[in-house]
């Protein structure tokens, strides 16, 4: 399949998704109740303000981040005279911007610690907010990209002189995306969680889970996009257009990861304390 067809397909799908989110009616109360139900948050007078603010803010910041990422990619290319934001590269920048938007929204709703605020005496781990496969998926995507880059350098297609700098650069970009996403996820888990009320804690946990899912799903999608770009390069050109087909599959996998991993609603379950009372529940 021709590269331009893949680009048109991906551009169309992503544009439809972004437009769909950008034009949602965020004042619709069903947006808030739907989000809360999906994340297992019981809406109360104490937490509905936080949830409503987050649901609105996160959509705006993610879309703004995605569009801003594309723009920054082009500005970056102009500044350093590279070509990172052409074709699929432009979508890598968009996904990274999207992830920054998701992370920023989480920072915006963080409750400040201070006098009078309590703390839950329970360990917080990334595993509380993210399933195992989404914790390893970005690393696997980066590993795939590194493997493809190494293959392109060590064993290029017949008659093709490998562009080592480009291959290494793409692999480094995938590793950097996965690494930075992991750092951002740990920062989300580590940010303060003052325990003022059980309903606020529940909403705060859902916000965190949402942020780390977007970071994990986004990083998986971005690393798969890089892998797709590598597979589309001449250095990896296999017989009968095999690598072109694999490149297309990697693009589809990136889209699936972005849609179904990043947007997966996750219910944070706290371990039961004495008497089966969930840790952090009002007693």
């Amino acid at each position: 399949m021709a590269t331009w067809m893949v680009a048109v397909f991906l551009t169309g799908m992503m544009s439809m998704a972004i437009l769909g989110f950008a034009t949602r009616n965020l004042d619709d109360p069903r947006e808030v109740t739907g989000w809360a139900r999906a994340h297992g948050v019981e809406l109360t007078a104490g937490n509905i303000g936080l949830v409503r603010y987050f649901v609105r803010l996160v959509v705006v910041l993610r879309v703004t981040g995605g569009l801003g990422g594309m723009l920054i990619g082009h500005l970056f290319d102009d500044a350093v005279d590279w070509e990172t934001a052409v074709g699929g590269g432009s979508w890598v920048w968009a996904v990274v911007g999207w992830m920054v938007g998701a992370w920023w929204a989480d920072r915006c709703v963080a409750q400040p610690a201070g006098p009078g605020a309590g703390a839950l005496l329970a360990a917080r781990r990334l595993a509380d907010y993210l399933p195992w496969y989404l914790r390893v998926a970005p690393a696997l995507g980066a590993l795939l990209a590194v493997g493809l880059a190494v293959m392109g350098i060590v064993d290029p297609a017949d008659g093709v002189m490998p562009h080592r700098r480009i291959l290494v650069g793409l692999a480094a970009a995938a590793v950097a995306i996965a690494g930075l996403a992991a750092l951002a996820q740990h920062a989300v888990v580590a940010r303060p969680q003052p325990a003022r009320a059980a309903d606020l804690l529940q909403a705060d946990d859902a916000v965190r889970a949402n942020a780390v899912h977007h970071l994990g799903g986004g990083a998986t999608a971005a690393t798969l996009l890089v892998a797709a770009g590598l597979l589309d390069r001449d250095e990896l050109g296999g017989p009968g257009g095999t690598t072109a087909m694999l490149s297309f599959l990697a693009l589809v996998a990136a889209l699936v990861a972005w849609r179904f991993l990043a947007f997966r609603a996750f219910r944070v379950r706290r371990p039961a304390g004495p008497g089966g009372v969930p840790v952090g529940a009002a007693r």
Binding site: P112, A119, A123, R124, A190, A195, G273
Partner: protein, 132 residues
Amino acid sequence: MIIRLDPDSPVPPYAQLKEQVTTMIRSGVLAPDTRLPAIRHLAADLGVATGTVARAYRELEAAGLVATRGRHGTVVQALALVADAADDVAGAAEAFALEAAHRGVDLDRALDAVRAAFAHLDSGLDDQPRPA
């Protein structure tokens, strides 16, 4: 399971933290092998320096109430639950002394309160029906 520090208390924050965790462990609210939050997480949540939480954890470890297990973090020790009665009373007395100091009550008044509590306990026991 919620820790609260009083910024206006004369008791230092690390001692308040240690006392509250001690009470939770001795009362069984924190079961053996329960993982305590990471030092920097708890410090961020409470809005205190990491050194404050680290000192409280160190003293809890020295008291045999918690143990540091490498990457598993700080966990509640099972030994705490099988401590003998004298240890329990000593722990309760320590918690009481901290609470009294926290409320600005001096030793004499605190001891008066203990005597009154014992007197109340005795009168309550006297009221119990005696076996025939």
